[in-house]
Amino acid sequence: MIRGGGDLASGIAARLFRSGFKVIMTELPKPLTVRRTVSFSEAIYSGFTEVERIISRRSSSIKEISITQMGREIPILVDENLEILKSNKYEFSVLIDARMEKKPEIKSLYKSVPLLIGIGPGFTAGVDCSVVIESSRGHSLGRIYRQGKALDDTGHPAGDPTRILRAPMSGTILTEVKIGDLLESGSVIAKINGVPILAPFTGLLRGLIHDGVTVQKGMKIGDMDHRSDINLCFSISDKAMAIGGSVLEVILSDTNLQPDRRDKPKL
């Protein structure tokens, strides 16, 4: 079970899926993902979506989930509060919280599943999750913490801070361009209540929140890239791949999940 359907969650899902795991993802009714071309959350809006030739499909019943899984696709459900955990139809071995909330959860699901992996800041291993994985770019990206926390959220991502587009006010966003467009500096990307959001520099639009979503002031609504390679928009990023690889390591090295891998006591 992966909580969240954004670009990092999707990178993790892709790596697990390709390794043969059955993956189910959950999202909000209106996902706030910005890198929608590499995120399975987009299926919530469109019914299905494809990232690197893996399809995720919005599924709203047990039957739809099983048909989707049978077709070797990833079911994604609107299930903000993880009601599915209460279903006796599934027994989840691993829960990965990849929502990037960046703050501690009020009521942790730790101990309700055998292995809870938290991605990024906000989690504390052994307190509200089993393991934390570093999500901050740099030397420690992908590092696995079996104690303690990931690096604190600085609020300032690596690189040019202007590449992150934020909502200047609350309201409904109407987008005017699409991900993958090369934008001139100053061109209009979207409008909130008629107020335009302009491209901060000439470059590639890599992420943009879904048209018509209600946003809060300061919320991340998109991002740009100085590089102009359009493929950056359509393939899973190095960061998501790295974190996904770490999740895989955590699962494969977990002795509780893999009885046959457990070290045998020496006689």
């Binding site: 019914g47 299905f48 030739r53 049978m70």
Partner: protein, 734 residues
Amino acid sequence: MKNLEFVGKPTRRVDALGKVTGITRFSGDLSIPGMLHMKILFARRPHARVIKVDIQEAICVKGVVAIYTAKDVPVNEYGLQKNDQPVLCGPGSSRVDGDLVRFIGDQVAAIIAETEEIAGQARDLIKIEFEDLPVVTDPVAAMQPGSEIIHPELGTSNICVHDKIRKGDIELGFSLANTIVEDEYQVPVQEHAYLQPEAGIAYLDENGRITVQVGGQWTKTDQDQIAHALNRSPDTIRVIYPAIGGAFGGREDLSVQILLALAVMKLNKPVKIIWTRQESIIGHGKRHAMIIKSRWGANKDGKLVAASTEIIADAGAYMYTSNKVLGNSTITSSGPYFIPNMKTDVYGVYTNNVPGAAFRGFGAPQALFMAESQMNKLAEKMGIDPVEFRRINALKDGDTLSVGTVVPGPVTISRVIDEAASKFGWFKSEDDKPISRSGKQEIHMVRGKGFACGFKNVGFSFGYKENCWAGIELRGKSKIEEVILRHGSAEVGQGNHTVMIQMAAEATGVPMEKIKLVASDTASSNNSGSASASRMTFMSGNAIKGAAALALKKWKDEIRPAAAEFVYFAPETTPFDQETGYSTPNFAYAYVAQAVELELDKETGIVRLIRVVSANDVGKAINPALVEGQIEGAIVQAQGYTILENYQTRDGYVLTDQLSTYLIPTILDIPEKIELVIVEVPDPIGPWGARGLGELPFLPLAPAITAALHDATGVWFNEFPLTPERILRGLGRI
């Protein structure tokens, strides 16, 4: 990998000398002193009940030895996939409704006489009393409730096959499509037209086994079917393949074998038969004709989002291999593309036509004609280059197929697309002036170019436990003097015995001239499977490698002779889920792309192929010269299918039952230039990386030709063969 000594070399065929000098004996060349001759009386009625067979006059002809009818066949039924065909149709049959004639090639009596002429005279004196039944020749009508039932003994419907794929949400898929192409296609019957008609000889061997020497494709299933019909144990039947003059899938199903064996069983004398060309055309299966309705959609980024397809195939009177052929149509109905939402229904329907049979490509050419035409039309409608459009949608490594499992890799469809486009010069600016072959500009001569691709699985699959046997014996004292290679495979003209000897040489390290192949005899070889489904190099190579490794180990242990047998089992596959199609259908695929340039004379409607470029991933060309031969042969055969071969029937009767009316390509018809790109991306489980090849280059030619014709004229042809008449009608000239 160490340097290969024998594999990968364009070695001369081991059967070349015999075949070019005429020494080699094919089925029809065999004779034994004192042998008798057989003729078969065909029903020559498309649908009737045989009330009475009167042989009184015929049996009195001097020189007639015996006449057999339905009542003489111990178990009067046979079939490769289903025992639904009587050996002889008539009263007294051991099988329910064994007196029903279901197509003109159903057999009613076998006449054995001292000479072929006498047998023929006697045959013409047999009187059959028929009760004619309504004739059903249109598969669409045959599907309807209330239609005349071809096999009343099997149930109340003529639908004998229904495969489905249900992937995703087809309506949602189309709702996201910016461009939709919807069309209907009709693909014709094709006659195998192998050079050597059905023929052979049967006799008792030194151990009293009924021995049948008739060219086929799978000795073991021939043996089993003969044994079943004669109600004998298979080990009392021996099947030997002499040299075979082409098969192309058509010899997978039996023709003369059971009746030859029956005659020998009853008479204890050798018996021979040779079918005429007409008998060959009416009496044995053909490529399935299909009607294909299709709706495909792509989004604004040029990605396919939905494909809905309905295929109705004319199975003809009997099952033959229709279930398997149509399984392959089902899987190839997506083309080699990634399509998130699919709905496919494939029906096989019994009719009173000549049965649909296996034929090079095995259901893929028909489905791919639709898929590739849809791709070309979508590309045109969206204003994208058709090659570019294919690149966007081509399957990639790790992709999930429409049946919910990962396509076995490496997936090289993009590679062959690029290789074909580059060799052809697809993206070069073109000189599209109408220049005729004479070099003069003539306004009625137009040229066009077209592109298409295809893929084909290797081997039998869909849950069949695919396997292949080989035996290797190393003889000598201190060093290996001779290698005996035993194998069951049929050399149908493709050169596989040469390839097998090359592979045995490589596997044992012994030169080819010291390897003696003992093949295609059920008395000395086990089950090596069929020479079909592009499987023999792949499967036999793995079996030979296994047997050689075991034999070499024994040799090292100083066992003399060092003999070993090995059965190679391919990775397991699973059949379609009945409702969704979900399955692991195949364990290996090969890929092809072709570009065609043609010239059309708009006055006469005659199409000429100027250039065909074919890029084929064969994994590893065990013998590059034979690979070239296979590719060129397949292209010529596909050209005949697409342009010339015009199989005509009326009310179940075949009108084109001679090669004078059913035209196949001759040396003057074939493309002026065939250019090959042999791509070698090894298959991880293929012997030395080899994939399958035999069927591959046949697959994309028809849609590439119709695309080129569209390029030249602006008209899409959804039916072929592209006879002058059809072209002139398409152009609105007649």
